[in-house]
Each structure stands twice: as structure tokens, then as C-alpha cells.
Amino acid sequence: MSLPAAAVPSGAAATAPARGRVLPSAMPYLQALPLWLVMGVFLLIPIATIVMVSFWEDQETGLAPTFILDNYRDVFATQVTFTTYLSTLRYAAIVWVSTLAIGFTVAYVLAFHIRSTLWQMVLFQVCAVPFLTSNVIRMISWIPFLGRNGLLNSTLIGLHITDHPLEFLLFSPFAVVLTFVHLYALFMVVPIFNTMMRIDRSLIEAALDAGARPIEVLRHVIIPLSLPGIAIGTIFVVTLVMGDFVTVQMMSGGQSASVGLLIKNEISLLQYPEAAAHAVILLLTVLMMVWAILRVVDIRKEL
């Protein structure tokens, strides 16, 4: 997310020398100053605080500002850290694959199989409207749908597809993934749709002209050119899932762990330094994932 910041100084640098003011070399930095201030106050300082607290000591009467590594040692000393990370990463992976498949298909249909721009707009809005409803409400609305006596089970039993309610539908990893996909699919659709709309239509004709079958057009033209959108969507979805604790807790019926939940449980008993240590590790993990994504795909064009 630091990319916009990087973009501003370089943009400013291009215009500043032309002006030829007194301090031409300082101008770009001056122009970028407000942004850096905002970033500093709302991003860097809080994170620095978390990092700092992660080295503090927890005491009855409050936090003792020392420098100890115990919190980190505690994090790595237990098996639960690894199982939890594994479980969270698995959720992230499954949700990523699902939202990518759905998001790409939906964006593809919208961008290439809807004739008029008006219909494109209307259908896009149709996809977007549910996302204006509270995430919490959308999340819990799955519960009456999937429950033992829920809409889906009643329907399945009514249709004699099954004779007893399917229990795995709710309070299960399935429910968690389903809800995640429901909550975050649009975060994949929007950036991919965006990049797809920017693909020059004559590129597709050029590919067809060269003898590409539709599937090859997809593989050799549309997918490579949609990569920046896919990367942005991936960053959205992966970071959202990695940081989540509400969805996992609600939809698994509290029976599944996530790193966020781990941290939250620690916070709930005021174990701030341990929670901070966990948060730092989670932050590093997510940053590494984002860095890896950016290594693979250049998204600057999109920003």
C-alpha cells in the first residue's frame, strides 16, 4: 500500500524542475509532505507502537516498557501458533482460489459478454449492491440459510435429495469459506473488471486473426493482461482473510482458529505484549505475501 506514496514524489519530480523555483530539489519532498504526514500518523506510528509494545513486559498493574524477547519466544514455543497459521493460510488459499475463479469469470462475462455499456453498468451495480449491506448482517444471514432447520436443508429434504439435514453446512470450515467468498468476491471482481475493460479489443481480434482459439485468447491475451487486476484483488482478499477473526469465529461456531482470533483472545485478557508480538509476525507474514505478489506482477500501471 506504500505504492501511491512512491508514485507521488516521482510525479512531482517531473514537474518541479520545469518551474525553476528557488529550491527546486526540495519541491518534490515538500509536495509529498502532507501524504507522508498522513501515512506517518495513521500508519507508521501505530505500527511502530505495536512493534515497541511487543518487546514490553506484561505486569499486573500494566505494561512495563522494557526490552524482552519473551513474547516472541512464547509465540514460537507453542505448537498452536503453527497450527493456527496453517489453518489461516489454508483458509486464505481456498478463499483466494475460489474468489479468483468466481471473480475472474464474473469480470470476464461483464467485460466481454455483455453487449451494451448500459447493461454492463447495471449488472455491475447489481453485483455491488449487496456489498453496501453490513458485513456482519451479510455474514449472519447465512446462518438461517445453512442451519440444521435452515432454508437449504428444508429444501433438500423437501426435494428428497437427502433424508436428514446436512450438518457440515453450518459451523464448519465449509461455512467459513462460503462466507468469506460471499463477503470478498467483489474485491476480486472490481479490479479484474477494471483491467479487463482497459484491454484494447483489437488485441483479441489480433489473436483470433493469428489463429488463436477462444481458450487460447483467454490464456495468452486476457489472463496476462488482467494480471495486475488479479494481483490487486489477491492482495485485497488475502489480507482481509489473514486478518479476519469475526467470520471464522462466527461461521465455524467458534470451532476453528485463525491468527486474528488468537490475537483477539490474548487482547481479551489484556495480554497486549503477546498480542503485539503475534500481530508483528502476522504483519510480516502478510507483507511478505504482498511483496511476493508484487514481485510476480507489476501493478503500477493500475495505480
Binding site: V109, Q125, S141, P144, N149
Partner: protein
């Protein structure tokens, strides 16, 4: 791209399935919000009425939504819709409730209000709120679309004339 043939229709069907997937749960809560005064958060339905919608707009009933609707909801909902963007921001701001809990000052925000509801409201008033939000969003989208259409037609007429 070819816009006919089986592949085209298959893709359109997939798209339709996605839309159904998006709206399925919304439909569930929409149905459940029409329960009678004894209604709960789950099936089976207990009676049919618009009790919970009335409840939503009456102050002094469970959880004062009259007030919060006026304050936070109208601001949070209408302002971004008028601006027309903020889809991400807004959707995310709901998710912020967890962070709001940790950081909010003494004023109640809508996310907090909603969260409070999930904590101690066992009635479909929550669903009524969700249904209203969706309907409201729809109204905004339709209005915007029609406006754009009208403007386009006007401009078209001007060009033709």
C-alpha cells in the same frame, strides 16, 4: 469475442448463479424480517407481519434505531451514495466494527450499533435493518442509473438536433 453460441450462454448462466449466490442470504433475511412479533433469527418463521420494520423506526423500542438511523445511518449510507463512489471504503467501514470497538470514542457509530445488535438483539429487527439497507442501496443505484440514462438521452438528442 463471440456473443452468441453455447459458450456465451454458459457464461451468462454462471453470472446469473453468482448473482443468486450474492442475493440468496439477503433473500433469507428479507423473508425472516417479515416475521411476527415473536420472530427469532432463524427458521421456522413465526408469524408474518411488518412489525420489525415498524420497530426499526420507532424510538424507545429495543435498541434505539430511530435515533441511530437518523444520525449515523443516514450519514453513513446517503453521503457516499450521493458521492457515488466509496464502494470499497463503505463496505470496509462496516467491517471496521471490530476495530471500532477497540478505538471508538464515546459516540456510537453504526457499525457499533449493528454489532451491539448481534450481541444482544435476538429479534429480526437486525434483518429488517439489513433488508432496508439493501433496498435503499437498490433505490440509489436505480436512481443513478436512470439519471445517467436520461442525461445520455438528452445529450444524444442535442447531438442529433
Amino acid at each position: 469475442m463471440e456473443k452468441s453460441g453455447p459458450r456465451h450462454w454458459l457464461l451468462l448462466i454462471l453470472f446469473a448463479l453468482f448473482v443468486i449466490f450474492l442475493y440468496g442470504p439477503t433473500l433469507t433475511i428479507f423473508i425472516l424480517s417479515f416475521q411476527g412479533p415473536d420472530g427469532g433469527l432463524t427458521f421456522p418463521m413465526r408469524g408474518v407481519s411488518i412489525y420489525w420494520f415498524q420497530n426499526l423506526f420507532e424510538p424507545q423500542m429495543v435498541g434505539d434505531f430511530g435515533g441511530s438511523l437518523e444520525r449515523s445511518l443516514s450519514l453513513a449510507l446517503i453521503a457516499p451514495s450521493l458521492v457515488g463512489v466509496a464502494l470499497f471504503g463503505f463496505s470496509l467501514s462496516y467491517d471496521e466494527f471490530s476495530r471500532t470497538i477497540m478505538a471508538a470514542g464515546s459516540d456510537n457509530t453504526l457499525p457499533l450499533e449493528v454489532f451491539a445488535m448481534t450481541t444482544n438483539v435476538t429479534t429480526p429487527v437486525l434483518y429488517a435493518l439489513g433488508s432496508m439497507t439493501t433496498l435503499f442501496s437498490f433505490a440509489v443505484v436505480i436512481t443513478v442509473t436512470l439519471t445517467v440514462l436520461a442525461m445520455r438521452r438528452k445529450r444524444g438528442a442535442k447531438l442529433a438536433g
